[in-house]
Symmetry: C2
Subunit: 320 residues, 2 copies
């Protein structure tokens, strides 16, 4: 099986299961909780839970599937709350929860998903001691994500964020949950501590790479390519790794914090490419992934391990 | 030891522990998370965790103390989020989190406490299988609290809420967490399923009684008695059990949804007393508590059981 087929299978399974359980839940709060969860998504965190579990024990993915859903619930709860904070009105092509209902309902909808995530870890079939470790790992990831979002918001008021500060923020905001996805899958499948640590670290570094690639996609994608507005980070003056590396090379992107035409955006991209900014940012993501893969030497060879390696490459090369 | 002394000991222990761990945490988000937690509170849910654990195994309270803190974290997270939704500016005599910082920080501060709660359950010393049951119980309580808060807010737009609807809302909004407090204490201490169920049910019914008493205190307390504004529920037109029982007896409180003088409030109280509304509401709370205590026959006699019975009485007789 190739990665594309594997990811598509997980996506279908997650979609089907979520729809079966949440598709016709009664009441405003249940509908608000289910809204973004049922709006699609690539389901990459559940896929990483399943692959990490399968790399430890081929038969584990089926029995720990609720934990894969738990990671998607967690991811979705953070999106619902982030959308309130960032006042975003569109996500995954549908209006955000607080736009359709209101902020109070969106806060509660996120809180309900948060609760369901922890309950789902308990519903996985695994050693109880492993479940406790998984719960603790998920809880710590959630606390880190909150700190990452807080740091990200505070960066909006600054124009001097360093490369180290940015990477630390992304480690928390994006890396922590991918780390937990791989770590929880491994732990519930019965991984030894070094194996669980290796997969946790792989999730962490590739999660960071994933976010860097997201920033590149935001800048480089053509109109309608990513489903988002083009170069939204640039127009919002976000302190992405691109902006930071550009500043290190003497290019100040702050003046572009405004509405930009497609021609202006194209000109900025060309300037950044000519200065080697894009290549350097790509190299940072690439190096993270190379290191992540090296750490997997404690995991025996298997189809799942091969797919994990493919997935890690996909994270920093994907165009959407 | 009498109940007052016991509660005071738990309050001191909780305060001291929270202050030690959170008193000087750096950064805005940590300070915002710790703010309401360190502002005091009666710490009744931790006390119930400890008493329920002690009623099962005298030595258990020490080793499961982190779970007592977990219940206080959970309670506080719901208050921080509720204060945003209800736009309240004061709580426990201090400005609310979203008032000092902003709504985004308050959402995240609540989310951090939410995460810490689940991590603390994992830090209790108990059988792993018991910890998993405790995590699941806490998660389900959290989901119920959200539904209760959602129902409570939806009641604000109605003037025909029935007694059954009100009690179901309170069961979720307040009962569920007291039920989880007693249930989790019992489970982590090694209770048998019937014992855990008895303590869970006791927490549920007395939690409902606690909320009914809260409504009575809001109406009946003299100025500055509860630290809140007097008769705030009446002035806000809240569908409390008092308003519902009054309506059943032909007294419509809706016209009092406005600013009221102390003399007007006194007159309304007299009218409600003369019509037997206050006595009937008190009887509902009293009956809940009598039933709750009956269910404890599966718990062996002990000082802890005696204190639980005292606590349950205190819940529906307290004046603050």
């Amino acid at each position: 099986m190739d990665l594309k087929e594997y990811l598509s299978n997980v996506e279908n399974l997650v979609d089907k299961t979520l729809f079966r359980f949440l598709g016709d839940a009664p009441g405003d709060l249940n509908k608000a909780s289910a809204h973004l969860l049922l709006a699609g998504g690539k389901r990459l965190r559940p896929a990483l839970v399943m692959l990490a579990a399968g790399a430890i024990d081929k038969k584990a993915p089926d029995r720990i599937f609720p934990a894969a859903l738990a990671l998607e619930m967690t991811h979705t709860f953070t999106l619902v709350h982030d959308d309130i904070m960032d006042k975003d009105s569109l996500r995954r092509g549908v209006p955000t929860v607080h736009t359709i209902w209101d902020e109070a309902t969106a806060i509660l909808a996120g809180d309900v998903l948060y609760a369901r995530a922890f309950d789902l870890i308990c519903k996985a079939t695994a050693e109880p001691a492993a479940q406790v470790r998984a719960v603790s790992m998920l809880a710590n990831a959630c606390a880190e994500i909150c700190q990452g979002q807080s740091d990200d918001m505070s960066f909006e008021k600054r124009d001097d964020v360093s490369r180290g500060e940015y990477l630390e923020m992304v480690r928390k905001k994006t890396g922590a949950l991918y780390a937990a996805a791989a770590g929880i899958g491994a732990i519930l499948a019965g991984a030894s501590p070094p194996q669980a640590e290796a997969l946790y670290n792989l999730g962490m570094t590739t999660g960071i790479g994933f976010q860097i690639q997201d920033d590149l996609i935001d800048l480089l994608s053509s109109r309608d390519g990513s489903g988002k507005d083009r170069a939204s980070d640039l127009r919002a003056g976000k302190q992405t790794l691109i902006a930071i590396v550009a500043r290190e090379k003497g290019i100040d992107l702050a003046p572009y914090r405004k509405d930009l035409t497609d021609d202006e955006i194209d000109a900025i991209i060309t300037e950044l490419q000519d200065a080697g900014v894009i290549d350097e940012v790509k190299k940072i993501a690439h190096d993270l992934v190379v290191n992540a893969k090296k750490g997997l030497s404690v995991i025996p060879e298997s189809e799942e391990k091969r797919l994990i390696n493919e997935m890690v490459d996909f994270f920093v090369t994907r165009g959407f």
